[in-house]
C-alpha cells in the first residue's frame, strides 16, 4: 500500500514533466498544424544552457534565464526557418523540424562534447522531504511538482481569462478571420512558438539534474512527447495533461510491479509449452511488464489512432 503511494508520486513527477513538454507542442500544433520534431531538442538546449549559466550564476538564475534564451531561439526558428518552409506544405515543415532536431543534437555535441554534464540539483533542495516506508522522496521532486502545476495553472489562466489568450484561441480555429480583424497572426504564431519552446526549456532546466544532461536526452524523450499529444488529442491542453499523467503512471506502475506474461496467458487458458526453451513462443512467455513498460505508450497510441483518431480530448482529426 505504501509503495502504491510512492509510485503515485513518482508517476506524477514523470507525468508532469512530460506535460510541460507536450503542452507547448500541442499549442504549436493546434495553431500552425506543425508537429515540431525538434521540440525535445529545445528541452535539451534548456538543460545545457541552464547548466552553463549555473556554473557562473547558480541554479536559480539558470532557471530564470535559460528558458528565455530558449524561447527567443524558438521564436527565431519560427521566424526565419519555419515561416519560409511553410509555403511548401506540411510534409516539408515536418521534415524541417526533423532535420533541426538532428542539427541541434550535433551542435550540442560540438559545443559541450559527448559526455554527461555534471549538472546538479541546487544544494538548498538536496534533502529528503519525507519518506514513506523507507522510500525517500527528495525535496527536488516536490519542487518539480509545484513548478509544473504552477505552469499549468498559469497557462490555463492566460489562455482562457486574458485578451491575448482569447486572440490565440480564436486564431487557433479561424486564423483568417482573426487576421481580418486586424490582429497580426504571424506575430501570434511566432509568440506561441517561442512560448512553447520556452516551456520545453523550463522542463529541460528542471529535468536536467535528475534525468541527466547528455546529448542523447532529446532522443530518449523525443517521440514519447508526440505519443502524449496524439493520445491526448492534438491541440487540447487538458488532453495533454491527462495523457501525460496517464503515461507517467502506466510506465511507473508497470516498472514497479513484475507482472508476468506467463500469468496472463495461463489465466487466459493457454498451456505453457514444454520444454519452454525449445518453443518458438519462449520469448512471449517470458515477457515481464518492466521489459515492455516503455513501449506501452506506443501500443496505446496505435490503438487510439485506430479506434479514435482524434485522441481522448481532441475535437478534430489529427
Amino acid at each position: 500500500m505504501d509503495l502504491i503511494l510512492v509510485n503515485l508520486i513518482d508517476g506524477l513527477v514523470t507525468g508532469l514533466l512530460l506535460f510541460m513538454l507536450s503542452a507547448g507542442l500541442t499549442l504549436i500544433f493546434s495553431m500552425m498544424g506543425v508537429l515540431n520534431f525538434a521540440h525535445a531538442s529545445f528541452y535539451m538546449l534548456g538543460a545545457y544552457f541552464a547548466f552553463q549559466i549555473s556554473l557562473y550564476l547558480g541554479f536559480w538564475m539558470g532557471l530564470l534565464i535559460a528558458p528565455l534564451v530558449v524561447g527567443v531561439l524558438g521564436a527565431g526558428v519560427e521566424r526565419y526557418g519555419l515561416r519560409r518552409v511553410h509555403q511548401y506544405g506540411h510534409v516539408p515543415e515536418l521534415i524541417f523540424t526533423f532535420g533541426l532536431a538532428l542539427l541541434i543534437e550535433e551542435l550540442v555535441q560540438f559545443i559541450w562534447g559527448k559526455n554527461q554534464m555534471p549538472y546538479a540539483t541546487p544544494e538548498i533542495l538536496q534533502f529528503t522531504a519525507f519518506s514513506i516506508a523507507g522510500n525517500s522522496i527528495p525535496a527536488y521532486k516536490i519542487f518539480m511538482i509545484f513548478i509544473s502545476i504552477a505552469i499549468f495553472i498559469g497557462l490555463l489562466y492566460v489562455l482562457t481569462r486574458t485578451r491575448v489568450g482569447m486572440i490565440i484561441q480564436a486564431a487557433l480555429t479561424y486564423p483568417k478571420t482573426v487576421e481580418a480583424l486586424g490582429h497580426n497572426v504571424p506575430l501570434i504564431f511566432m509568440g506561441v512558438f517561442g512560448v512553447g519552446t520556452a516551456l520545453a526549456g523550463v522542463a529541460g532546466v528542471i529535468a536536467g539534474p535528475v534525468l541527466g544532461t547528455f546529448p542523447g536526452m532529446a532522443f530518449v524523450l523525443g517521440s514519447i512527447v508526440f505519443v502524449t499529444i496524439v493520445i491526448g488529442g492534438l491541440g487540447s491542453l487538458w488532453g495533454a495533461l491527462v495523457a501525460s499523467l496517464l503515461i507517467g503512471w502506466i510506465t511507473t506502475f508497470s516498472k514497479a510491479y513484475n507482472l508476468r506474461m506467463e500469468d496472463l496467458l495461463t489465466w487466459l487458458g493457454f498451456t505453457k509449452p514444454e520444454p519452454i526453451w525449445d518453443s518458438a513462443w519462449r520469448d512471449l512467455w517470458s515477457i515481464t511488464s518492466p521489459q515492455i513498460a516503455d513501449i506501452l505508450p506506443y501500443i496505446l497510441m496505435v490503438l487510439i489512432l485506430i479506434f479514435r483518431p482524434y485522441g481522448l480530448f481532441g475535437k478534430r482529426d489529427a
Partner: protein
C-alpha cells in the same frame, strides 16, 4: 471500387508497354552499362562494398519514395519492412536443407514477400488516413517492432542480431558468392530489376492514382477511387521493395541487428530520400548515392560529418525543397532553349566562390573543434592537405578571409546570376 483497381492495370499496362516505354529506355541501358563497368574502375574491395551499400540504399530509398513522393505518405518507421525482410532471409540462410536448394539470387524474393506480408498487416489499419495519423501510426509501429527486436530473441536474435552464411546456398551457375565482386553483380542486377519495376509501377493507373490521392484525396474519391485502397496498395508495394533491399543487405553483410529496424534507420532513409528530391523518380537515387558517400567516405575524413549533414539537410529543406533532383531539373527549360551554356560563367563566379567560402567556413568549424577537443600540446592539425598550428593566429586569419571573401563574392555576383538565369529561361524574342 476495388474491383476497378485490381482489374484495370492489366489493359493500360500493355498500352504503356508499347508507347511511352520506348522513349525512356536509353537511360536504363546507360545505367545497366554503368553498373557493369563500375567495378572495373573501382577495383578495391572497399569500393565495391561501398557501391553495394549504395545500391541497397538506392532500392530502399526508391521504395520509400513510393510512399513519400508518389503517395504523399510520410513514414517514420519504414526501416522495419526492410529489416524484417532481411531477418527472414538470414533465417532462410540458416535453414541448411532448404537453403541448399535455392540459388542465392532468388533469396530477395523471399525478403520482399516478407516485407510485403508485414506491410499488408500494418497497412490494413494505418492507411485509412494519410497525413499526421499515418505518420504517427508508422512511428508507433516502428518503435514497437524495434523494441520487439530485443525482446523476441528467437526471431531477432536480441542486441547482437543473427548472422548466416550466404555461401551455403545452391551454387548459381557455379558461382558460390565467395567474393565481394560476385555479390556486387547480384545486387546490381536486383537494383536494375527493382528500379525498373518501381518505375513501371509509377506508370500504371494505380501509380498515377497514388499521385492523385496525394494531391487531392477528395477529388480522387469523387472520381470513384477509394483513397484508402490506393494508399494501401502503394504501401504494400513499397513494403515489398523495402523487403528486397533488406534481403540484399542480408546477402551483403550476412548479419542483421536491431540497428536495421530502429527509428534512426527510418530517419536516415527519410533524410536520404528528401535530400535527393521526392518530386522525381531519380531523386532518391541521387540522394542515396550522396548520402552513402557522406556516411562512409566523409566520415573517414572528419568526425563532424553528421554536423555537416545536418546543415546540408536543413538548408535543403529551407531553400531547395525539390532536393538535388529538383535543382537539376530546374535546368531543363534552359536546356530546351539551348541556353544552358550561358549559365556557365555566372555559375562559376557565384557558386565557385560560394563553395570556397563554405569550405572556409568548414575549415573554421574544424579549427574550433580542434582547439576545443584536441589533446593538450597537440597543436598541429591537417586540413585540406595542409598541416599547420591551430594555436597561432595566421591560419585563423586565412580561414576567416577565405570565408568572407568567398561568400562576399558569391553575394555580389548573385544578382548577375539571377539575371543570367532569367535570361536563359526566356525564349529569344519573347517580351521581357
Amino acid at each position: 471500387m476495388t474491383d476497378q483497381l485490381t482489374t484495370d492495370p492489366t489493359k493500360p499496362a500493355q498500352r504503356i508497354g508499347a508507347g511511352s516505354l520506348t522513349v525512356p529506355l536509353i537511360p536504363w541501358v546507360l545505367a545497366a552499362a554503368l553498373l557493369m563497368v563500375l567495378p572495373f574502375i573501382f577495383t578495391a574491395n572497399s569500393a565495391i562494398t561501398i557501391m553495394n551499400q549504395m545500391a541497397i540504399t538506392i532500392i530502399f530509398a526508391l521504395a520509400y519514395n513510393m510512399l513519400l513522393g508518389q503517395g504523399g505518405m510520410l513514414s517514420f518507421g519504414h526501416a522495419v519492412y526492410a529489416g524484417v525482410g532481411g531477418f527472414a532471409c538470414v533465417h532462410i540462410m540458416n535453414m541448411d536443407d532448404f537453403f541448399a536448394q535455392i540459388p542465392l539470387p532468388l533469396l530477395p524474393i523471399f525478403g520482399g514477400l516478407m516485407g510485403m506480408g508485414l506491410a499488408t498487416i500494418v497497412g490494413a489499419f494505418s492507411t485509412r488516413k494519410a497525413g499526421t495519423v499515418f505518420a504517427m501510426i508508422s512511428l508507433g509501429v516502428g518503435e514497437l517492432i524495434a523494441a520487439c527486436s530485443v525482446i523476441i530473441v528467437a526471431f531477432f536474435g536480441g542486441e547482437e542480431g543473427i548472422s548466416g552464411d550466404r555461401t551455403y546456398g545452391m551454387p548459381f551457375f557455379g558461382v558460390e558468392f565467395l567474393q565481394q565482386i560476385e555479390v556486387y553483380y547480384l545486387i546490381a542486377a536486383w537494383l536494375l530489376i527493382s528500379a525498373a519495376l518501381m518505375y513501371l509501377y509509377s506508370r500504371t493507373p494505380l501509380g498515377r492514382m497514388a499521385n492523385a490521392v496525394r494531391d487531392n484525396p477528395e477529388r480522387a474519391e469523387f472520381l470513384g477511387y477509394s483513397a484508402r485502397w490506393v494508399r494501401f496498395f502503394s504501401f504494400v508495394a513499397s513494403g515489398f521493395f523495402a523487403g528486397v533491399a533488406g534481403a540484399l543487405f542480408a546477402i551483403n553483410y550476412e548479419i542483421l541487428t536491431e540497428e536495421n529496424l530502429n527509428t534512426t534507420q527510418s530517419g536516415l532513409i527519410l533524410l536520404a530520400t528528401f535530400l535527393g528530391g521526392v518530386g522525381f523518380f531519380f531523386g532518391p537515387i541521387l540522394g542515396a548515392i550522396v548520402f552513402t558517400l557522406v556516411q562512409t567516405v566523409l566520415s573517414l575524413q572528419t568526425e563532424l560529418w553528421a554536423f555537416y549533414l545536418g546543415i546540408v539537410f536543413v538548408v535543403t529543406v529551407m531553400f531547395f525543397p525539390g532536393g538535388l533532383a529538383g535543382l537539376l531539373m530546374m535546368h531543363v527549360p534552359a536546356m530546351r532553349l539551348g541556353k544552358l551554356g550561358r549559365l556557365g560563367v555566372p555559375y562559376l563566379k557565384t557558386l565557385g566562390s560560394g563553395a570556397i567560402g563554405c569550405l572556409g567556413a568548414a575549415g573554421l568549424i574544424e579549427m574550433t573543434f580542434h582547439l576545443r577537443h584536441a589533446s593538450a600540446g597537440d597543436h598541429s592539425m591537417t586540413l585540406f592537405w595542409i598541416t599547420f598550428d591551430s594555436h597561432t593566429i595566421l591560419p585563423w586569419i586565412v580561414a576567416i578571409a577565405v570565408t568572407f571573401v568567398g561568400l562576399g563574392i558569391a553575394r555580389r555576383t548573385a544578382p548577375a546570376l539571377a539575371e543570367a538565369w532569367n535570361e536563359a529561361n526566356t525564349p529569344d524574342g519573347a517580351p521581357r
